[in-house]
């Protein structure tokens, strides 16, 4: 578990910012969690991106293997590749936390970065590639103390300038020791008055300039692209269409989308007025800005819509929308994909095991009272009556998927056991660094998908994550067992 104190310190920094709630990939959950291997060494990585770009991200690496001698971190910008990246910096061991390293990442341009975490030790060396999106997400407010300090210093400066002009036009021109003639004193007063007026104008102009800068900055804040969601009946089956309204996107002025786990989009519907209902669907890309796919038999109600896509730059993006189903949907399941899954049961609590069917249950094994910023919280144990570990089959190349949503929809994240990053993002960076692009810049993705390929016995599954803010959350975990995707839903309250 990554030391909670470090995360809390970061949480305090985050709280000091009047930050926006929407982020590029996911919603209201800016930190990147990554779990995997760098060469022979298992490592866990947390990247806390800055709220402004250019800015400095914090990175924490947990590398407990005793053979490890050195950990380095290096941000690589998508456009420049590793050839155009600065040399790696050594991450510093964290005091009183063996196996923990911390570092800073200078993210100087907006867009897609991969962070190369290098690990060296007696068993050799390895590099882990962690995708990070650098986008401006928040605006820092001027604190009361700093405001007062600046006002005091500013006032002293203004008064000082006027006094200096008075002295420059008056006393400074009088030979040492002589009194100031009345005419010169008058001239000095006139000069000081003019200086006061000019300084006042400058201060006024400076304030206008500052406001203009702040307005210009706000226009660079990342906001989800506008979309429109429509549900229609198509060939006897209800169909959902998500259309991106944004012109730049529609006209293809952003990098193309690439499949993640073989799917161009992962669309989640979560009902607003009921705890448990969730659908995980995989619509097709009809044109550059339109996703369309069949809907399962969902109950009526208002739904939040989240659609995760990955650009060929490795940039992950979530479309956010909502829809209302006036009546329950008829079953049109024949059109559904075998990876589409939905859940309409009640939520379980952290102390009650969630049924997955066939008498198999999934129990919450993380903290029973989760707190903000603490990692290692999303752990689950899988039980079946025989006591044997359940055989879990690959679901979209992964052992499992988790969806975390705060009740108000202001936090949403789609997780894997490897963390918050889409597998496609890592793949895009790997291809890019080998220079594996076609002349028009499109990546050759064919047959490159990796991940879990065979069923494995599983007793416990975990997702690296820390809740970003307090509140009531819903957590869904999806696993494929006996060729059927099973969903468990939990309701948890996260405290500060």
């Amino acid at each position: 578990m990554i030391a909670a104190s470090h995360i809390r310190r970061g949480a305090r920094v985050a709280l000091a910012l009047a930050m926006g709630v929407v982020l590029a990939a996911h919603v209201g959950s800016p930190d990147v969690f990554w779990s995997g291997k760098a060469g022979p060494y298992p490592i866990d990585v947390i990247v806390r991106p800055p709220q402004v770009v250019p800015g400095i991200a914090e990175i924490l690496v947990r590398a407990p293997d005793a053979r490890i001698e050195r950990v380095t971190v290096r941000p690589v910008y998508w456009r420049a590749g590793s050839k155009g990246a600065p040399s790696a910096d050594a991450a510093k061991p964290v005091e009183n936390a063996p196996g923990m390293y911390s570092g800073r990442l200078w993210l100087m341009a907006g867009g897609s970065y991969s962070v190369h975490v290098g690990v060296q030790g007696s068993a050799g060396q390895g590099i882990a590639v962690v995708p990070v999106a650098a986008v401006a997400t928040g605006q820092l407010q001027l604190s009361g103390g700093l405001r007062i300090l600046l006002v005091i210093l500013g006032t002293l400066l203004v008064a000082g300038i006027v006094t200096a002009v008075y002295a420059a036009a008056g006393e400074s021109q009088v030979p040492p020791g002589e009194p100031i003639p009345p005419a010169r004193r008058t001239r000095a007063r006139v000069a000081a008055s003019i200086a006061a007026a000019i300084v006042a104008l400058l201060v006024f102009g400076g304030a206008k300039w500052w406001n203009a800068e702040a307005t210009a900055y706000r226009s660079t804040l990342y906001t989800p692209l506008r979309t429109r969601v429509v549900v229609r009946d198509s060939d006897g089956a209800p169909t959902i269409t998500l259309r991106v309204v944004d012109t730049n996107f529609r006209e293809g002025r952003v990098s193309a989308l690439m499949p993640d786990h073989g799917r161009i989009a992962h669309l989640f519907l979560a009902r607003v007025d009921s705890d448990g209902v969730l659908a995980h669907l995989h619509p097709e890309q009809v044109d550059f800005g339109t996703l369309r796919g069949p809907l399962p038999p969902l109950p009526a109600g208002r739904y939040r819509v989240f659609a995760d896509v990955v650009h060929e730059t490795g940039f992950q993006r979530t479309f956010v929308d909502s829809l209302t189903l006036a009546a329950p949907l008829a079953a049109g399941a024949s059109h559904l994909d075998r990876d589409d899954a939905w859940f309409t049961g009640p939520l379980s609590s952290v102390s009650t095991a969630a049924p997955l069917g066939d008498q198999i249950t999934l129990a919450w094994a993380g903290d029973s009272q989760p707190v903000v910023g603490r990692t290692g919280v999303l752990r689950f144990t899988l039980h079946q009556p025989s006591g044997e570990p359940a055989m879990v089959e690959p679901y979209l190349g992964m052992t499992g998927h988790a969806v975390v949503m705060r009740d108000d929809g202001k936090v949403y994240v789609h997780l894997h056991p490897s963390g918050t990053s889409a597998m496609a993002s890592s793949l895009a960076f790997a291809l890019r660094d080998r220079g594996d692009t076609t002349p028009d810049g499109r990546l050759r993705m064919g047959g490159a998908e990796m991940g879990m390929t065979t069923a494995q016995p599983v007793r416990e599954i975990s997702f690296p994550y820390a809740f970003p803010s307090p509140g009531r959350y819903r957590v869904w975990v999806q696993l494929r067992i006996r060729d059927s995707v099973r969903t468990a839903g939990f309701g948890v309250t996260v405290k500060e």
């Binding site: 002293l156 400066l157 420059a168 030979p175 400076g206 900055y217």
Partner: protein
Amino acid sequence: MTTLAHPVGHPTGISHERAHSPVLDWAWHAYATVLAAAMVVVGLIWDISWHMSIGRDSFWTPAHLLIQAGGVVAGLSSGYLALRITFAGSPEARASGVSFWGFRAPLGAWVCVLGCGAMLTSAPFDDWWHNAYGLDVRIVSPPHILLALGMIGIVLGALLRTLALQNVADGAVRQRAATLFAIASGILITIVAIVLLDDSGREEMHAGDFYRTLAKVFPVVIVAVAVAGRGRWPATTAAAMYMLMLAGTSWVLMLFPATPKLGPIYQNITHYVPIDFPLLLIAPAFAVDLVWRRVRDRPAWVASLALGVAFLATLVIVQWLFADFAMSHGRNWFLHADNFPYMRVPAEEPYSFEFRPLEPGEAGLVAQLSLALLYAALASAVGRAWGRWMTRVLR
């Protein structure tokens, strides 16, 4: 024996022998402020090179520390002088300063204190700005302008301190003070040239716009120095100081290894990348020094016009020819024309060795130079007036 040019304590203005003056006791402070101003400006040149070569910025970079140290030297030495004069000075010493909120010190010391104050104020402001809007997204931002005003304050303070000494002292002290004044003026020209760096690239040097921009600004300082300096070639010395300071700092920096610590990196950099070779301002400054001797007693408009013509004509001839030379023979350590910062995209490199073509709708060379001449004459008039004011600074 050192004497004072201006009598002290003699309202009639009739000169009489002075054995000593407190003003001369404070000469150390004039040296301190010039040193502080030089530290600030060398630090600034270093900082720009740092941003071109290494990139990673913090309050604690050596270049920033040099700039801040310059501010501290100016602020502390001036503060100390003010406290000493106010609380421990003789009545004569107190009468030799100017009054400022009940304290007494030379005018230059107060301007240095204000400059130091502006620099100090800009530090927390700039830190907040970086956190709020991004790390150095723009060079020209309100906190950076405040910092620049602070630096200019320290340079102006140094100028005023050396002026007061030059104008009050006589004999050898005056000569030394005049040299010191020319050096301080060179530092001022350097800071002005740095402000204009973006508009004065080599590829601009055959465009009328370039001369129009320079004509608006440089004659103000160069003419003022020529008018106020008591040395033989004040403006020429100041311009030489500017060129030496800029080129010399660059030549030294280039000896030291540096690698980019920020991406994206498009240039292979192993040592500090210097800023552009200085403008050849020594030539127009020499012309201004020469012409001023001849038009000193002419009416203001005649003098200003003559100075403007001398400045612009010399600048155009010398800089135009130099630009041709630098384009073809500039890729060496001396002229360092291939000083590409790490973020410079290789595809853009050829443009650094081509003069910028006229943009659609942009006025032609003759029209631009005519306008430049008008600006040069007006700027010379302002410089002349400022210079004449400077000759009267006695405290």
